[in-house]
Amino acid sequence: MKRVFSVVLLLATVMMLGGCYDYSEPDEKAWILALGLDKGRQNVLTVTAVIAIPKAIAGGGGGEPAAGGAGGGTFFIVSMETPTLLSFLELLDTVVDRRADMSQTKWLVCSRELAEEGIGRYFGPVTRFYQFRRSAHVVICEGRAEDFLEQGKPILEDNVGKYYELLMRGWRYTEFIPFDTFHFLHLKSNTIGVAPVAPLAALNRKEPVYDDNTPKPKGAYQAGRLPRRGGGEIEVMGGAAFKAGRMVGTLDADQVGVQKMFFGNLKRTIMDVPDPEHPGFFIIVDVKPRYNPRVDVRIGEDDLPEISVEVGLEGTIMSIQSGEEYETPDRLPVLEQAVERAYLEDINKTVAKSQALGADFLGLGLHAKKLFLTWPQWVAYDWDTKYPDATINVSVDYRVRRVGLIHETVPLK
């Protein structure tokens, strides 16, 4: 009995030794929802934090949400000039009364300027420090990140964190937003034979982007070059290709779509295909991958890679503007080939871009890797220098599975 009691007492004491060391109330912390990195004006970096104002979001004690719709007032911005990212965290505690905490951070926004210089060195703390989440997105923005974050106010949301999250969740249902979170960005940066693509974002460009109304595929846009009026200030479209921790170029939305398809992240997309028989008209089809692209790599005689890619797609007819009847079994191949041509063009453009940038963001190197028996052999092969000169053949196979709710087109009379 005495022994049992003493053991219990001992255990209780051991438990108490921790002494609530990490105990902290959520209302004693300042929740950083996004961090912005800019080239500094008075120091190395200008770091910007978006800090949530919970009482405005929760509506302070059960009442109405304080913010009247515009989502403003639910966060505030602090920008500071610091030598490194983590020193900012320390400096922030001199300005904000609550202790800054990054464990809910959604976005790490880098200005394009900084990204082109190379941001690999700033990622150190992100991978090591426990408060950062690898599920955060690294967003490359046109212009300065502090302006971007300050003006990026949600309209539908009270919680700016939710706004950031939902904006990024677009990767599931559009091809325009890359999938790579910080985790994949980090992994791909550390591997030979693949390069990451970060989402590209920008503030709404007020002045016109194009001078005429000639047809342009919707995927030709990218953030900062999106002709529009209204909506929130932020737009996320297209990607920033990285190589060795440095941003080397931008991808438009279609190219991001191809990149995602090569990694199996493309769930579905909609394509506007020019009607092969009626110029000026579009056929709109729904496109889903049938299987992940089958990549076959061989090392040719000149020691350069020869790559053949087989892309399988399927989908539904969504609209035929011309009223031409393509649904019959004998006419379907016409439509399918039109889609294949259009898609092949996209892929070829993307491949060309990737070879031009020298960044293998399609991950073809990952398929080449298996040809080498040891890692040193693979490293010695030096994929990055060989890749731009590789021969790449792509074939696309698209099948129409369904014709939508109309099984037979009747031309307008």
Partner: protein
């Protein structure tokens, strides 16, 4: 080459295999192996358990020798139990004398020496009276002497409850007799019509009728001669009919009293016990025996719907405070001749009638023996409630979990008995103890079996969810809010943070305030007089509801946590188990506040570890799960009734099979013998 070494080591290490005495004795494996029974008897330093079992076996053999023929009447049983009890008590007293002598020598004077000195005559008198009972003084032939002794026993001039009704039996010449009973616990009508009337008015009629048959009045006098010669042998009577009776006393018992249960008492002790239990004792001048007549008639609550264990589907009756009604409620369900009801007197100062029920061809005899052994050995001052008895017989009194299942539902008792368990019913108590009891038993409700199995299984899942919510939800709230904010989705975090902005206390204090408030409301709800019960609802709703939030004492999310916790704890079907959960919840909150989820994990580790050491009547508390034994379809989830083919393995019942594999005979096209074969 070294095989001889192996053989030698085997020879040296050889131990004689020892059969385990009983599986159901707790901690049997912790005790050193005892030598056989003989050495037990030899060893002078005898343990308590040993002496008890010995006394029991002695008394048992005696009662068997008495050949009381297994009569099932209450008073007979009680009489036997009585004897056993007293033998036990004597042996125990001897034991205690040894012990107490030592104790006294250590402590010196007894504590209440002054009072004992002041009332020394009273104390001495009480001791004298106790001697009459303890030493089993036999009744006297003289009616007057019997009366005096009984008056002394019942402290009669002061005590108005005991009634001594003197009467004369209406034979020719009349025989003097006396009826002793306690007023208020006897049925006056039965006494009037079935005892007094036959004795005083009709006893003669039988004589006359016999006379008319051709008997002479002189022969009728044979009975009356009994007064003068009490030990009249059966051979003395010339008359055929009178030869049936040994003497007058026997005749009164056999022919005069139309009472359904009549027993004979020979000692004051027996008489007093029966009289205290509502029977009447009839003394006849010249006989050193008393007739103990069944005249029980106290008031009791009628069978009513269960108050604690309500079900929607299933029988809607619960036990009452009447032992005999309760046993009948069980017997009503189990129509089986092997259902045995044994009576044991439990307790020391005010012994309570207690019934041990089991199905003789199912329950493991070791289990029954162990239950009876524990009950008989109780030397408690108060054992009038099953809760009191439970605390005296449970294996591990220091553990938080109940080790005896308490229920007020006859159907649950019946189901357990048919599993091979033992039920203990106590007089004056609507709760019945079922033993052994495991964790999974505590989480079951009879209704699980009465609804179709998917819903029964679902209800169990809900209940387990309730258990975990009740035990761990507030702790998790504290742990996550205070230590692991990164767990919380941002929106929820903002909601929690925003709601907490104006609350001045840390989360742990908030939780403790609300939990304490809730416990207060629950306790007050039980104790509050019914007439002002509605007040509690208003006050409680105010404390736990809007007001606490509006006053910024607690955050609104915590209200939800506390409410869900409360709901979870109400979903636990067993009251005493839910009490333990209520208490342990605070331990978990403490752990969580000290080191977050790590603390909770440590708590769970210790908790489950400790629980796995608990035993209920030798059966591990987590029985089919830890230690792993064969599991039926009814331990965690509920399987279909027709698949439940075996009784619980841990009970070691005499019949393992519940029902044949094809329990639905109609499925074997036309061959409906499936159900019949057993």
């Amino acid at each position: 080459m070294f095989s001889w070494l192996k053989t030698l080591s085997k020879f040296i290490m050889y131990q004689k295999p020892q059969p385990a005495p009983s599986v159901f004795e707790s901690g049997i494996e912790d005790r050193p192996l005892e030598e056989g029974e003989k050495s037990k008897a030899k060893s002078k330093a005898k343990s308590k358990a040993k002496s008890k079992s010995k006394a029991k076996s002695k008394s048992k053999s005696k009662s068997k020798a008495g050949g009381n023929g297994g009569s099932d009447t209450d008073s007979n049983d009680s009489g036997q139990g009585n004897q056993d009890q007293h033998q036990l008590r004597d042996s125990e007293q001897n034991n205690r004398k040894n012990g107490s002598r030592k104790r006294n020598s250590r402590r010196g004077k007894p504590r209440n020496a002054a009072i004992q000195k002041k009332y020394s005559d009273k104390v001495a008198e009480n001791q004298d009276i106790d001697q009459i009972l303890n030493q089993k003084v036999e009744l006297s032939y003289r009616l007057e002497e019997n009366k005096q002794v009984l008056e002394k026993l019942f402290r009669v001039p002061e005590n108005k409850d005991a009634v001594f009704r003197s009467l004369s039996i209406g034979t020719e010449p009349p025989a003097q007799a006396m009826l002793v009973f306690i007023d208020g616990i006897t049925n006056a009508q039965v006494q009037n019509l079935a005892v007094l009337q036959p004795l005083m008015l009709l006893s003669g009629a039988r004589d006359i009728r016999q006379n008319r048959k051709g008997d002479t009045p002189a022969e009728a006098g044979v009975f009356l001669q009994g007064q003068e010669c009490p030990r009249l042998g059966p051979g003395n009577g010339e008359n055929k009919e009178t030869a049936v009776y040994k003497d007058f006393f026997d005749r009164v018992k056999q022919a005069v009293l139309p009472n359904n249960q009549v027993a004979e008492g020979r000692t004051y002790d027996q008489v007093v016990y029966d009289v205290l239990n509502g029977n009447s004792a009839l003394f006849i001048e010249g006989y050193n025996q008393a007739l103990l007549l069944e005249t029980k008639g106290w008031h009791f609550r009628s069978v009513s719907p269960p108050q604690v264990e309500a079900v929607i589907r299933g029988p809607q009756e619960a036990f009452t405070e009447m032992l005999r009604v309760n046993t009948s409620l069980v017997r009503k369900i189990i129509h089986r001749s092997s259902l045995v009801t044994e009576f044991i007197k439990v307790g020391y100062n005010a012994p309570m009638q207690c019934a041990v029920m089991y199905v003789a061809d199912l329950a493991n005899p070791d289990l029954v023996k162990e239950v009876k052994r524990r009950l008989e050995s109780i030397r408690a001052d108060q054992t009038y409630e099953t809760g009191l008895a439970e605390q005296m017989i449970e294996d591990n009194p220091l553990h938080m979990v109940p080790q005896v299942l308490t229920t007020e539902r006859p159907d649950r008792v019946a189901a357990s008995l048919l599993d091979g368990k033992v039920a203990v019913l106590m007089d004056g108590n609507p709760f019945v103890m079922i033993m052994p009891c495991t964790f999974f038993n505590l989480m079951q409700s009879p209704e699980d079996a009465y609804v179709r199995w998917p819903f029964g299984a679902f209800m169990r899942l809900i209940r387990y969810a309730g258990l975990f919510l009740a035990l761990l939800l507030p702790a998790h709230y504290v742990a996550i809010v205070a230590y692991h904010q990164e767990f919380i989705p941002t929106d929820l975090l903002m909601a929690i943070t925003g709601a907490r902005e104006k609350v001045p206390f840390p989360s742990i204090v908030e939780v403790l305030i609300m939990e304490a408030a809730f416990e207060l409301i629950r306790e007050a709800g039980v104790r509050i007089p019914g007439t002002i019960g509605t007040t509690l609802g208003i006050v409680g709703a105010l404390i736990l509801g809007q007001a606490a939030v509006a006053a910024n004492i607690v955050s609104p999310i915590l209200i939800i946590v506390v409410a869900v916790t409360a709901l979870g704890s109400f979903a636990i079907p067993n009251y005493s188990f839910s009490l333990s959960i209520r208490l342990l919840r605070f331990v978990y909150i403490l752990f969580a506040s000290l080191s977050g989820l790590l603390g909770i994990l440590v708590g769970v580790f210790i908790h489950v570890g400790v629980m796995s050491t608990v035993k209920s009547f030798g059966v591990p508390f987590l029985a089919p799960a830890a230690p792993v034994t064969r599991k039926g379809r009814d331990y965690f989830m509920r399987g279909p009734v027709w698949q439940q083919e075996t009784r619980p393995d841990y009970l070691d019942p005499l019949k393992t099979k519940r029902q044949p594999q094809f329990s639905r005979g109609w499925l074997n096209d036309g061959d409906d013998k499936g159900g019949a074969e057993r």
